[in-house]
Amino acid sequence: MEAFPGKALIRKIVDNDEVLDWYELNPQERFAESQKLWEIFDLFGGSYDVQPDTQSPFNIFKT
Protein backbone atom coordinates (compact mmCIF):
# COMPACT_ATOMS: atom_id res chain seq x y z
CA MET A 1 0.00 0.00 0.00
CA GLU A 2 1.36 3.43 -0.87
CA ALA A 3 2.30 6.04 1.74
CA PHE A 4 -0.31 8.13 3.45
CA PRO A 5 0.39 11.66 2.18
CA GLY A 6 -0.10 13.12 5.64
CA LYS A 7 3.36 14.51 6.30
CA ALA A 8 2.60 17.93 4.82
CA LEU A 9 -0.71 18.03 6.62
CA ILE A 10 0.93 17.14 9.95
CA ARG A 11 3.46 19.94 9.36
CA LYS A 12 0.57 22.34 8.85
CA ILE A 13 -1.40 21.09 11.86
CA VAL A 14 1.49 20.95 14.32
CA ASP A 15 3.06 24.21 13.11
CA ASN A 16 5.95 23.88 15.54
CA ASP A 17 9.40 23.20 14.10
CA GLU A 18 10.78 21.84 17.36
CA VAL A 19 8.02 19.24 17.61
CA LEU A 20 8.41 18.31 13.93
CA ASP A 21 12.18 17.98 14.35
CA TRP A 22 11.47 15.69 17.31
CA TYR A 23 9.13 13.56 15.17
CA GLU A 24 11.91 13.20 12.58
CA LEU A 25 14.32 11.59 15.04
CA ASN A 26 14.63 7.86 15.60
CA PRO A 27 14.20 6.36 19.11
CA GLN A 28 17.94 6.29 19.79
CA GLU A 29 18.30 9.94 18.82
CA ARG A 30 15.34 10.92 20.98
CA PHE A 31 16.78 9.02 23.94
CA ALA A 32 20.15 10.75 23.47
CA GLU A 33 18.47 14.16 23.30
CA SER A 34 16.41 13.45 26.42
CA GLN A 35 19.62 12.51 28.26
CA LYS A 36 21.07 15.90 27.35
CA LEU A 37 18.03 17.50 28.93
CA TRP A 38 18.82 15.66 32.16
CA GLU A 39 22.31 17.21 32.13
CA ILE A 40 20.82 20.69 31.76
CA PHE A 41 18.22 19.87 34.39
CA ASP A 42 21.00 18.86 36.82
CA LEU A 43 23.05 21.94 35.97
CA PHE A 44 20.19 24.18 37.04
CA GLY A 45 19.52 22.15 40.19
CA GLY A 46 16.15 20.83 39.08
CA SER A 47 14.20 18.57 41.42
CA TYR A 48 13.50 14.98 40.46
CA ASP A 49 10.24 15.07 42.36
CA VAL A 50 7.36 14.14 40.12
CA GLN A 51 5.35 17.27 39.41
CA PRO A 52 2.08 17.51 41.36
CA ASP A 53 -0.77 16.38 39.13
CA THR A 54 -4.24 16.93 40.54
CA GLN A 55 -5.71 14.62 37.90
CA SER A 56 -3.55 11.67 38.87
CA PRO A 57 -5.10 8.96 41.06
CA PHE A 58 -1.82 9.06 42.99
CA ASN A 59 -2.30 12.70 43.91
CA ILE A 60 -3.62 11.50 47.27
CA PHE A 61 0.02 10.99 48.20
CA LYS A 62 0.71 14.69 47.52
CA THR A 63 4.17 14.05 46.13
Binding site: M1, A3, K7, L9, I13, Y23, Q35, F41, S56, F61
Partner: protein, 255 residues
Protein backbone atom coordinates in the same frame (compact mmCIF):
# COMPACT_ATOMS: atom_id res chain seq x y z
CA UNK B 1 28.29 10.10 34.67
CA UNK B 2 25.26 8.33 33.19
CA UNK B 3 21.81 9.67 33.99
CA UNK B 4 19.56 7.96 36.55
CA UNK B 5 17.32 6.77 33.68
CA UNK B 6 20.33 5.18 32.00
CA UNK B 7 21.29 3.46 35.28
CA UNK B 8 17.80 2.10 35.90
CA UNK B 9 17.51 0.64 32.40
CA UNK B 10 20.99 -0.95 32.61
CA UNK B 11 20.28 -2.40 36.04
CA UNK B 12 16.93 -3.86 34.98
CA UNK B 13 18.64 -5.53 32.00
CA UNK B 14 21.49 -6.82 34.18
CA UNK B 15 19.02 -8.47 36.56
CA UNK B 16 16.90 -9.77 33.66
CA UNK B 17 13.78 -8.15 35.07
CA UNK B 18 10.76 -9.09 33.00
CA UNK B 19 9.57 -5.52 32.67
CA UNK B 20 8.38 -3.32 29.84
CA UNK B 21 9.28 0.33 29.71
CA UNK B 22 6.11 2.41 29.50
CA UNK B 23 4.94 5.88 30.55
CA UNK B 24 6.78 9.05 29.66
CA UNK B 25 10.15 7.44 28.91
CA UNK B 26 8.54 5.07 26.40
CA UNK B 27 6.60 7.97 24.89
CA UNK B 28 9.89 9.80 24.29
CA UNK B 29 11.17 6.82 22.27
CA UNK B 30 7.98 6.75 20.20
CA UNK B 31 7.99 10.48 19.48
CA UNK B 32 6.16 12.10 22.36
CA UNK B 33 7.67 15.46 23.24
CA UNK B 34 7.91 15.22 27.00
CA UNK B 35 10.42 15.64 29.80
CA UNK B 36 9.52 12.92 32.25
CA UNK B 37 11.10 12.90 35.71
CA UNK B 38 10.27 9.33 36.61
CA UNK B 39 10.39 5.94 34.97
CA UNK B 40 7.45 3.53 34.67
CA UNK B 41 7.40 -0.19 34.03
CA UNK B 42 4.80 -2.87 33.48
CA UNK B 43 6.11 -5.94 35.27
CA UNK B 44 5.47 -9.68 35.19
CA UNK B 45 3.64 -10.57 38.40
CA UNK B 46 5.10 -13.90 39.49
CA UNK B 47 7.56 -15.17 42.10
CA UNK B 48 10.38 -15.16 39.57
CA UNK B 49 9.37 -11.78 38.12
CA UNK B 50 9.24 -10.02 41.46
CA UNK B 51 12.45 -11.65 42.68
CA UNK B 52 14.44 -10.24 39.77
CA UNK B 53 12.67 -6.89 40.20
CA UNK B 54 13.62 -6.83 43.89
CA UNK B 55 17.26 -7.60 43.03
CA UNK B 56 17.39 -4.69 40.60
CA UNK B 57 15.67 -2.35 43.06
CA UNK B 58 18.12 -3.39 45.78
CA UNK B 59 21.09 -2.54 43.56
CA UNK B 60 19.54 0.86 42.85
CA UNK B 61 18.93 1.29 46.60
CA UNK B 62 15.31 1.92 45.74
CA UNK B 63 13.02 2.33 48.73
CA UNK B 64 9.32 1.56 48.59
CA UNK B 65 7.45 4.82 49.16
CA UNK B 66 3.81 5.54 49.91
CA UNK B 67 1.55 2.46 49.85
CA UNK B 68 1.16 -0.35 48.99
CA UNK B 69 4.30 -2.35 49.68
CA UNK B 70 5.44 -4.39 46.69
CA UNK B 71 3.41 -7.60 46.49
CA UNK B 72 1.86 -9.81 43.86
CA UNK B 73 -1.58 -9.24 45.35
CA UNK B 74 -1.37 -5.43 45.19
CA UNK B 75 -0.07 -5.50 41.63
CA UNK B 76 -2.72 -7.97 40.48
CA UNK B 77 -5.43 -5.71 41.90
CA UNK B 78 -4.20 -2.93 39.63
CA UNK B 79 -2.24 -0.89 42.14
CA UNK B 80 1.05 0.78 41.34
CA UNK B 81 4.06 0.36 43.63
CA UNK B 82 6.34 3.36 43.96
CA UNK B 83 10.04 3.57 44.73
CA UNK B 84 12.71 6.21 45.20
CA UNK B 85 16.27 5.41 44.18
CA UNK B 86 18.62 6.37 46.99
CA UNK B 87 21.83 5.13 45.35
CA UNK B 88 24.66 7.56 44.65
CA UNK B 89 23.92 9.78 41.67
CA UNK B 90 20.34 8.54 41.42
CA UNK B 91 18.92 11.84 42.70
CA UNK B 92 15.92 10.14 44.31
CA UNK B 93 14.57 9.19 40.90
CA UNK B 94 11.12 7.65 41.21
CA UNK B 95 10.36 4.25 39.74
CA UNK B 96 6.71 3.23 39.39
CA UNK B 97 5.70 -0.33 38.56
CA UNK B 98 2.34 -1.82 37.64
CA UNK B 99 1.26 -5.35 36.81
CA UNK B 100 -2.29 -4.84 35.56
CA UNK B 101 -3.86 -1.80 33.90
CA UNK B 102 -7.41 -0.92 32.94
CA UNK B 103 -8.32 -1.95 29.38
CA UNK B 104 -4.76 -3.13 28.73
CA UNK B 105 -3.91 -6.73 27.78
CA UNK B 106 -2.43 -9.09 30.39
CA UNK B 107 1.32 -8.85 30.79
CA UNK B 108 2.21 -12.09 28.92
CA UNK B 109 0.49 -10.68 25.82
CA UNK B 110 2.19 -7.31 26.26
CA UNK B 111 5.51 -9.12 26.54
CA UNK B 112 4.84 -11.08 23.34
CA UNK B 113 4.20 -7.83 21.46
CA UNK B 114 7.11 -5.92 23.01
CA UNK B 115 9.49 -3.87 20.91
CA UNK B 116 13.14 -4.16 21.77
CA UNK B 117 14.90 -0.85 21.25
CA UNK B 118 18.67 -0.91 21.19
CA UNK B 119 20.04 1.99 23.20
CA UNK B 120 23.77 2.81 23.13
CA UNK B 121 25.73 1.67 26.21
CA UNK B 122 22.56 0.07 27.62
CA UNK B 123 21.45 -2.68 25.26
CA UNK B 124 18.13 -3.93 23.96
CA UNK B 125 15.46 -2.38 26.16
CA UNK B 126 12.05 -4.11 26.09
CA UNK B 127 9.47 -1.40 25.45
CA UNK B 128 5.69 -1.70 25.47
CA UNK B 129 4.41 -1.82 21.88
CA UNK B 130 2.94 1.46 20.65
CA UNK B 131 -0.59 0.05 20.37
CA UNK B 132 -0.44 -1.14 24.00
CA UNK B 133 1.15 2.08 25.23
CA UNK B 134 -1.73 3.98 23.64
CA UNK B 135 -4.23 1.88 25.62
CA UNK B 136 -2.28 2.42 28.84
CA UNK B 137 -2.30 6.18 28.26
CA UNK B 138 -6.11 6.41 28.14
CA UNK B 139 -6.36 7.76 31.65
CA UNK B 140 -8.29 10.52 33.41
CA UNK B 141 -5.38 12.97 32.98
CA UNK B 142 -5.55 15.68 30.29
CA UNK B 143 -1.82 15.49 29.64
CA UNK B 144 -2.07 11.83 28.63
CA UNK B 145 -4.60 12.72 25.93
CA UNK B 146 -2.29 15.37 24.54
CA UNK B 147 0.42 12.71 24.46
CA UNK B 148 -1.87 10.21 22.70
CA UNK B 149 -2.41 12.68 19.89
CA UNK B 150 1.34 13.24 19.56
CA UNK B 151 2.16 9.53 19.57
CA UNK B 152 -0.09 8.84 16.60
CA UNK B 153 0.96 11.99 14.73
CA UNK B 154 4.59 11.01 15.21
CA UNK B 155 3.88 7.47 14.02
CA UNK B 156 2.17 8.83 10.90
CA UNK B 157 4.87 11.42 10.28
CA UNK B 158 7.61 8.82 10.26
CA UNK B 159 5.65 6.16 8.39
CA UNK B 160 7.46 4.42 5.60
CA UNK B 161 6.24 4.25 2.04
CA UNK B 162 5.03 0.69 2.50
CA UNK B 163 2.03 0.80 4.80
CA UNK B 164 0.33 -2.33 6.03
CA UNK B 165 -3.42 -2.73 6.34
CA UNK B 166 -2.89 -3.25 10.09
CA UNK B 167 -1.07 0.06 10.43
CA UNK B 168 -3.82 2.00 8.68
CA UNK B 169 -6.51 0.29 10.77
CA UNK B 170 -4.47 1.16 13.89
CA UNK B 171 -4.48 4.83 12.85
CA UNK B 172 -8.23 4.71 12.18
CA UNK B 173 -8.71 3.25 15.65
CA UNK B 174 -6.44 5.60 17.56
CA UNK B 175 -5.77 8.83 15.68
CA UNK B 176 -6.99 11.83 17.66
CA UNK B 177 -6.39 14.56 15.09
CA UNK B 178 -9.66 15.36 13.24
CA UNK B 179 -8.05 16.67 10.05
CA UNK B 180 -5.84 13.60 9.78
CA UNK B 181 -8.80 11.27 10.25
CA UNK B 182 -10.72 13.07 7.49
CA UNK B 183 -7.72 12.79 5.16
CA UNK B 184 -7.12 9.18 6.08
CA UNK B 185 -10.77 8.34 5.35
CA UNK B 186 -10.57 10.06 1.97
CA UNK B 187 -7.39 8.18 1.08
CA UNK B 188 -8.50 4.73 2.31
CA UNK B 189 -12.34 4.65 2.10
CA UNK B 190 -12.62 0.84 2.14
CA UNK B 191 -10.54 0.51 5.30
CA UNK B 192 -12.43 3.42 6.87
CA UNK B 193 -15.58 1.37 6.39
CA UNK B 194 -13.97 -1.59 8.14
CA UNK B 195 -12.73 0.58 11.04
CA UNK B 196 -16.14 2.24 11.38
CA UNK B 197 -17.58 -0.91 12.97
CA UNK B 198 -15.42 -0.41 16.04
CA UNK B 199 -15.26 3.40 16.05
CA UNK B 200 -18.59 5.01 15.06
CA UNK B 201 -17.14 8.55 15.12
CA UNK B 202 -15.39 7.71 11.85
CA UNK B 203 -18.74 8.29 10.15
CA UNK B 204 -18.14 12.04 10.42
CA UNK B 205 -14.56 11.68 9.18
CA UNK B 206 -15.78 9.66 6.19
CA UNK B 207 -18.26 12.42 5.39
CA UNK B 208 -15.41 14.94 5.55
CA UNK B 209 -16.66 16.81 8.59
CA UNK B 210 -13.58 17.68 10.67
CA UNK B 211 -15.53 19.89 13.06
CA UNK B 212 -17.98 17.14 13.98
CA UNK B 213 -15.11 14.64 14.20
CA UNK B 214 -13.39 16.94 16.72
CA UNK B 215 -16.54 17.11 18.82
CA UNK B 216 -16.95 13.33 18.81
CA UNK B 217 -13.27 12.82 19.64
CA UNK B 218 -13.76 14.98 22.71
CA UNK B 219 -16.80 12.89 23.74
CA UNK B 220 -14.76 9.73 23.26
CA UNK B 221 -12.00 11.20 25.44
CA UNK B 222 -14.46 12.25 28.15
CA UNK B 223 -16.01 8.79 28.24
CA UNK B 224 -12.62 7.09 28.66
CA UNK B 225 -11.66 9.57 31.39
CA UNK B 226 -14.87 8.75 33.22
CA UNK B 227 -14.20 5.00 32.94
CA UNK B 228 -10.68 5.49 34.28
CA UNK B 229 -11.92 7.69 37.13
CA UNK B 230 -14.47 5.03 38.12
CA UNK B 231 -11.83 2.31 37.88
CA UNK B 232 -9.65 4.18 40.36
CA UNK B 233 -12.37 4.94 42.90
CA UNK B 234 -12.20 1.49 44.50
CA UNK B 235 -8.43 1.42 44.32
CA UNK B 236 -8.16 4.89 45.86
CA UNK B 237 -10.37 3.88 48.77
CA UNK B 238 -8.01 0.98 49.40
CA UNK B 239 -4.98 3.28 49.14
CA UNK B 240 -6.51 5.67 51.64
CA UNK B 241 -7.13 2.79 54.04
CA UNK B 242 -3.53 1.55 53.74
CA UNK B 243 -2.17 5.05 54.09
CA UNK B 244 -4.18 5.54 57.27
CA UNK B 245 -2.94 2.21 58.63
CA UNK B 246 0.65 3.06 57.78
CA UNK B 247 0.37 6.47 59.41
CA UNK B 248 -0.94 4.91 62.60
CA UNK B 249 1.57 2.05 62.58
CA UNK B 250 -1.01 -0.58 61.73
CA UNK B 251 0.46 -1.69 58.42
CA UNK B 252 2.39 -4.95 58.72
CA UNK B 253 3.42 -4.96 55.10
CA UNK B 254 0.99 -7.72 54.24
CA UNK B 255 -1.93 -6.89 52.03
Amino acid sequence: MSSPIHRVLSTFLKHKVRALLMGGQACILYGGAEFSRNIDFAVMVSDEGLNSLKSALAELEAENIFVPPLSQEALMKGHACHFRCKGEGMRDLRIDVMGVMRAVSPFPELWERRVEIELPEIGGVPVMALADLVQAKKTQRDKDWHMLRQLIESDMYKSSNELSREKILFWFAECRTPELLVNLAAKYPALAGVALEKRPLLESAISGNAEETARLLKSEEDMEKELDWRHWQGLKAELEKWRHEKKHGMCNGVI
